[in-house]
């Protein structure tokens, strides 16, 4: 089965083949995979070399000239290294772009901290007007990419090597299970482990691949249907990134929130496999199950 990165390549090729106003900007990463597209569309597959500030600024310049840019590299280099370019050259200029990252929080754990970006969504969330998609399956990634291209919005699509077995292509917060003791919201690649962790628990399980804008109405509806204001948020990036959104959605009601995600107060200096990092951050199914049970029981 194709990975999300494979799907990014094939979907971007389809977009380039059909929309003459789209260009993709690269900084060496994934340039080889898009090599044939570059031959078919000279001038619309632009590899700036290992220059991430220019990567984002060139995307902004393309947008100013009326071209819809897809801007892509690994998540730490796209969002963290070039953050002022995202803030000023896209946001402050008020032009649109589709930023597509690959690498998630720790998809390449053996590469170490330099290739990890658990803070990317929190950083993007500090800027106004961005849509943020965190697909949990390659088919969701394809759908979200295709939907991001028309128009001139600013969109961040966070692709990952972690994925769920099945796609969920609905919009907003999708209800996968209905229970009575609480609401567990799984974001993107967290879904399958949340489903496993809550097996046999009397909780509502929601899923979303779109965290900004946040579906506050959907959360309130689910809380009402469940009859409990205990909410567990399970995000594949910094823990608590969406806590304020949940609190705002439920501001009229006393409520409790448990926010699970990548640890905020510790830099994890291990290499190893993704599973090793899941254990450290408490994001494996067993750890999630323990955290949810403890939260609901107290």
């Amino acid at each position: 089965m194709p990975t999300m990165r494979d799907t990014f390549v094939s979907t971007t090729e389809d977009i380039l083949d059909t929309d003459p106003d789209v260009a993709v900007v690269l900084a060496d990463i994934t340039a080889a995979q898009l090599g044939s597209a570059a031959l078919r569309h000279p001038g619309r597959v632009l590899n700036v070399g290992i220059r991430e500030q220019l990567l984002v600024s060139a995307g902004a310049g393309l947008a100013l000239a009326g071209i819809r840019p897809i801007v892509h590299t690994f998540s730490p280099f796209l969002v963290e290294r070039a953050f002022e370019q995202i803030k000023l050259d896209l946001g402050h200029q008020d032009v649109g772009a589709v930023l597509v990252s690959y690498g998630g929080s720790y998809d390449m754990p053996a590469e170490g901290r330099t290739h990890q970006s658990p803070g990317d969504v929190a950083l993007i969330d500090s800027l106004p007007g961005w849509a943020v998609h965190v697909p949990g399956h390659p088919e969701e990634a394809r759908r979200l990419l295709l939907e991001a291209v028309p128009g001139d919005c600013r969109v961040y699509v966070r692709l990952s090597a972690q994925e769920n077995a099945e796609p969920h292509l609905g919009a907003g917060l999708q209800t996968l299970r209905l229970g009575t003791r609480g609401v567990v919201l799984a974001v993107g690649p967290m879904l399958d482990r949340v489903l496993a962790a809550t097996e046999g628990l009397d909780v509502t399980v929601l899923y979303t691949a779109t965290v900004r804008p946040f579906d506050a109405d959907g959360l309130r509806t689910a809380v009402t249907a469940t009859g409990s204001t205990d909410v567990v948020l399970v995000e594949p990036y910094l823990a608590g990134t969406s806590t304020a959104r949940v609190a705002d959605a439920l501001s009229a009601t006393p409520h409790r929130i448990l926010a699970l995600g990548v640890l905020r107060d510790t830099e994890v200096r291990i290499y190893g496999e993704v599973g090793d990092h899941d254990l450290v951050h408490g994001l494996d199914a067993d750890s999630i199950a323990l955290s949810v049970k403890e939260f609901l029981d107290h």
């Binding site: 310049g61 000239a65 370019q85």
Partner: protein
């Protein structure tokens, strides 16, 4: 006579003097005034009537601080009204110490943080090429101290390698870079494949010739030297 309706070069000092709220930027404003006038008066095809045309020439002020000369030239060319200059930088005004493209007509980019205009200009040229506007000029103005920002050097290298003939960078050099540029600024562009011309930033004919003489298949860097800056921060 249409000359009665728009101010000319001789009016620029008066227009600049209307904006008195930012004395410390005065030197920076003056350093760019002749370059800006030559560009808007003789080099670039940009008017208030054509400013929304997709194939227009574009001027990107990267060195956004000290924008009084810029606002004065935009006023002289009919983008802004003289009556709004005196109130600049107030909460009521759309003209700030750094220009905002979403507010001020004629302003192509919002600038202020240094090192953004040239990289954006590279992308703009690449976009204009895709859209078939292969003749539109894109000119960006940077300061010699602004070249300290590494983002410029990412853009200089790529623009040279791609041979972006539509792109012109004018470096207004008032010798304000803290660590200087031994061997000269033009060398930084030339080694990457740019055509370079170093002229007096006060000599209108020399500037016009530098901006308009052909430079086929290469981007153009015009180093416009002006008097050394004598006041303190911020630099340009």
């Amino acid at each position: 006579m249409t000359t009665a309706t728009l101010p000319g070069r001789a009016d620029l000092p008066r227009l600049i003097a209307l904006m008195t709220g930012d004395d410390k930027h005065q030197a920076a404003a003056e350093s760019t005034v002749d370059v800006l006038w030559v560009l808007y008066d003789r080099v670039l095809d940009i008017t208030p009537e054509t400013f929304r045309e997709p194939g227009r020439d574009r001027f990107l002020l990267s060195k956004g601080h000290g924008p009084m000369a810029y606002y004065a030239v935009l006023t002289a060319k009919g983008f802004l009204d003289e009556s709004e200059l005196a109130d600049w930088s107030s909460a009521r005004s759309r003209l700030g110490h750094h220009p905002d493209r979403r507010r001020a007509p004629g302003v192509e980019i919002s600038s202020g943080s240094l090192g953004h205009g040239l990289p954006i200009a590279v992308g703009t040229v690449l976009g204009l090429r895709i859209r078939g506007f292969g003749d539109a000029k894109v000119v960006t103005l940077v300061g010699d101290a602004e070249l300290d920002e590494g983002s410029n050097h990412e853009a200089i290298a790529l623009a040279g390698r791609l041979g972006l003939e539509q792109l012109t960078t004018v470096v207004v050099d008032n010798s304000s870079a803290t660590h200087g540029w031994p061997g000269g600024i033009a060398r930084r562009f030339a080694v990457e494949g740019w055509e370079t011309r170093t002229v007096s930033g006060r000599d209108h004919e020399a500037l016009y010739e530098a901006f308009t003489a052909p430079h086929p298949d290469r981007p153009l860097a015009v180093v416009a030297t002006v008097e050394q800056k004598t006041t303190g921060e911020p630099k340009g």
